[in-house]
Symmetry: C2
Subunit: 337 residues, 2 copies
């Protein structure tokens, strides 16, 4: 294998970047993690550094260099139109890369992390929420992913936003009492007092001021409280989230297939998953739910494909199997000081 050109798949996200070094057969030779890799949210310089750090970490100890790599596939959000790839290509070239750089959708990488068939679905619900239908191995339809203000229904932001509104409506006397209110107040270190102002609790004004002092997207940080809380309001929010995700999927659904699930909202069993499956009804029977942690394996799968091979389930399975121990080691190293 030492003279075969290597390939790199990059799963470049808004908070961290994963690089997988592989051969054309899906034998993973290295794995590394870097910082923020999305040029839209992190800016091109910082994103390029995040990507390069991940690549260096993946090459470390392998005895191979970036000059041995023939193909890099960078899977990230918002790069579908590709256009300008210079922000990354120039940095890769400086580091010795002389091969081909290809951009792919992060959602397609999520899909191929859990499935290898040319038809299927990927549904991601993390901070945002988006679905794709894959046909002939390409994105055939996209649904939602419209951001916090206009869509992302059933996402972590959506859940956190619903929690915040439930808390202020509870305090405003125009909504059900809920244990979420105390959790939200504690989150912002606000203490309840009996004081009133213009006929409503002063603590409400404090909470409202606090909530407006942060970027709205940070409401996603409240989402875990709905999973912890067991009252009717929390359950109602999670049930609605599951229904929204089912509706988002239904709008692109066109026959049975694997459904690769990314993000934490739908990954765990519980009220969201239950409501999701219930809402799908008979359609759920045709879907094979496969939660994945991220798009690293799928990015490597796309790199094998970009290098001219026609990878199938054996390659995907080998990638998943051979990346696992390297990933565990990288995780252990990162936890050490």
């Amino acid at each position: 294998m030492s003279h075969e050109p290597l390939l790199i798949g990059l799963d470049a996200g808004g908070t961290s970047t994963r690089a997988v070094l592989t051969d054309r057969g899906g034998r993973c030779a290295g794995y590394g993690v870097g910082g923020r890799g999305n040029p839209v949210s992190a800016g091109p310089e910082r994103a390029a550094s995040g990507v390069l750090d991940a690549i260096s970490a993946a090459l470390e100890g392998t005895g191979r260099a970036l000059s041995d790599v023939s193909t890099v596939v960078a899977a990230m959000a918002g790069m579908r139109a590709a256009g300008d790839s210079d922000w990354l290509m120039s940095r890769l070239a400086s580091a010795g890369f002389g091969g081909r750089l290809v951009f792919e959708s992060d959602l397609l990488a999520t899909y191929f992390s859990g499935a290898s068939s040319s038809f299927g679905y990927a549904l991601v619900s993390g901070t945002g929420a988006c679905v794709i239908r894959v046909k002939d191995g390409r994105i055939d339809r996209t649904g939602d992913g419209l951001g916090w203000l206009l869509g992302d229904r059933g996402s972590g932001f959506w859940i956190g936003h619903a929690i915040a509104r439930a808390a202020v409506q509870d305090l405003d006397g125009n909504g059900a009492r809920t244990a979420l209110t105390d959790r939200v107040l504690a989150h912002f270190a606000i203490t309840r007092t009996g004081e009133e102002d213009s006929g409503r609790p002063r603590v409400l004004e404090q909470l409202v001021s606090e909530l407006y002092s942060h970027p709205p997207i940070e409401l996603a940080a409240l989402a875990p409280y709905a999973f912890e809380g067991a009252d009717a309001v929390a359950r109602g929010i999670l049930t609605d989230a599951g229904r929204h995700l089912a509706d988002t999927l239904s709008a692109v659904l066109h026959g049975p297939g694997p459904l690769v699930v990314g993000g934490s909202v739908l990954a765990r069993p519980g009220p969201v998953r239950d409501a999701f499956l219930h809402r799908l009804g008979d359609d759920a029977a045709g879907l094979d739910l496969r939660p994945v942690g991220d798009g690293a394996v799928g990015a490597a799968f796309l790199a094998v494909r970009a290098a001219g091979a026609d990878p199938g389930e054996s390659v995907r399975e080998r990638l998943a199997r051979t990346v696992a121990p390297l990933r565990a080691r990288a995780g252990a190293q990162r936890r050490e000081p």
Copy 2:
């Protein structure tokens, strides 16, 4: 009347300020309009200039000066806790004012623009939405007014936001077809094409980018399209808005009384008003709906009260009657070049 001290009521809003010059009997002697008068949104310097301009315009041609004024009541949002009044008092003093400055809630001024009884309600739905219950002539309870991110349900922002979401969901194939979509596209001068990107219309990406490039609150500008449009989606949005406003009122409702209505959303007959009254059910019978254009009369009413009088309906009625011709004249002057 020439030696009796005069009073000024200010209805200071986010876009303009109205000043009413009156005697203790509610005989209006002058009326003037100035620029933005809220220090929170416009900044203290600009707000003070807006207020001073309105006062100058009200005094103009009356033969009286600010030194003849004993009491100024400034009704504005967010000044309930009052605290620092220096931003305005110093400017008033420089202009010759030696009397007393009192801050009141803009919602209380709205209430007394349409009612004089010591018990009743005021509901404002303009860009935002808020309700108060008045008892003993003071604010006894407040509902909503929690801003665009957390509340203001049934407001102009709420309607505009619902319109924007309906349009993007229509284009995303995950919502009903609606004529609102073409109105929203036309609003942003976006032309429909047949082009697709990752399995959805490119026009959707254009619209989403456009919507995120403005402050969210500007979505309120889309609200009129729901009133113009006659399809089921538009009617549904307006019906939901009416129900939300009814629920906001219901949370503070405590017996019959006048309901003074400010802002344009509930002012006109139509789907919002119909849904509002239907949702209130039997409670609607005990409410006397009184739309008002703004809080100018109520601010003057509060100035009479602050000056030590105990104004009743005859004073409110006289204020409304005597301010009307001055207001018409000021309006005509402002329309002339």
